[in-house]
Amino acid sequence: MSDNVYMPYLMKITDIRDETPDTRTYRLEFTNPEDAKKFTFKAGQFGLYSAFGGGESTFCVASSPTREGYIECTFRVMGRVTTQLRNMNIGDIVGFRGPYGNSFPIEEKFYGKNITFIAGGIGLAPVRCVIWNILDLRDKFKDVNIVYGARTYQDLVYKHEIEEWEKRKDVNLVKTLDPGGDKAEYGCSGWNGKMGFVPTVLKESGIKGDNGVAVVCGPPIMIKLTLPVLKELGFAEENTFTTLENKMKCGIGKCGRCNVGSFYVCKHGPVLSAAELAQLPDEY
């Protein structure tokens, strides 16, 4: 292995799924079997994905560490790199640096608990990694609740997996769209979920915080509004986890871009508890 910490692994795109008109999922496999053998990661970690010629962009690993041999990433087209990534095809090569950052304390804190996932929009990507991780080890946990919402029907990602979770008896799935999100123009024909914002839907879901761990990911505003609701439902701040998403360039604590006070999102995060979040300066 090179001593150059900026050297990416080379990975081949082996599957493409368009989640929404501007969101895509790639399945990536190592081109070098040696790399594949040595590679491990944990739920919550992230990486820098590069389109050669475009540059690097940061996303979480969206697949579960229990599924070996590949990783998946889901990204929205927002800038130069993601535009170039979006234009790639099966068989094309992308660069991957990682895994970086900390992870959800699954063994330490999730075992034996009721687990509640709350996600908004593309925030389901980091949560999906944990969901599959937990479902693949289902008997280690008690109840599993998933509350997922998006602005419109069109913005729901992983639609097939949502259906799959919905069918499972050992998962309680609550899905919702923001008011007006079920119009036909968003490709929706007969919505069988709730209508309303995630924090409100969560409040009315009947989910209880006793013996529970919560994982919340989504847009900053949704997180800010959801945390108090979780507290109300009885989730301890130490058992409520989220991820911070700041602009990152290096992923390894060098470029000085991602910090919130002394908390380097790339090194100390991206996963942190609501208790830790409350300690940070309000600059994220």
Partner: protein, 341 residues
Amino acid sequence: MADVFLTHDKARELLIHLSANGVEAFGPVEKDGIHIIEKIHEQSPINFDYFITTNSIKEALFPRYEKILSYKISQEGVEVEDVPLDKSIVIMGGHPCDAASIPLMEKLFGWDYKDKFFLKRRENSVVITLACEEADNDCFCTSLGYSPRGEVGSDILLERVSDNGWKVKTLTDKGKNFAKEYADYFQSSLEADKKYPKLADKDVPVQFDPKKVKKWIDGHFEDSLWEKIASNCWSCAACTYVCPTCHCFDITDDATMWSGIRTKNWDACTLPYFTLHASMHNPREEHFQRYRQRINHKYSIYVNLFEAVSCTGCGRCSRACGARVNILEAVKMIDNAAGGK
């Protein structure tokens, strides 16, 4: 050991000799009335008569932009190539406040993941520092425990004994070997001028207590003092780019259809879009939030991470600031708010 001396003329010759022989030699050149440290070539107007260079020796170890890998794209796939870092480097012309930045930068670039671009360069380099003979109101190295004649981070310290030469003090094995290898350029005597040394620690008085400053910062992230301190800041990067300890960078690709390079380029927390998210959300919208990060990072965050203040008191940022924001004043205001000396 017998004393060793070096004259300005010989130092110039040496730098040019090194640069002609495959060494990356950095030295002070005079350009349009200012002195800057840059890579020396045959025609470089090397000049050692300055108070302080505008930029710092950072240029040599952490270049403004630097290739970190290259790649070729073909029908078969992508081939990525590493960048070898085997050139020897000699850096002459910084002051003790430049050299003191090196151990500080090593902490960051060696934090778990080893950034060989800085670390390897450091390993390959000989740092030859000029002790200070002059200080201005913006200098405050002593407040941070450094000294105008300090040795931290240097391999060789040159102390002026006359208008055209220095006494050579070798500080490390690397420095000793260098002096041995290029013994021809050094001499065993040089007529001393009584006016040197002109500057001692006491001429740069201690002006604040960094511990107190940190304590105040930690308790006052939200405080109107920040707005006052930075009220005239217009958010450029002059201060950060001349600073020996500012290390922030961007990573970008420069490519044609079939090949390209990836580079690491200076960037700065004081620039308006440094932290802008792709969603257009910017955690540091306002000028004072960005300047707060600059001070906070140096005087508190760095201490939390590495137990050292990431500022050597060189005053370059104050001198370079066209808006006349002055870091010493800023830190003194904080020190005052924390209850004075």
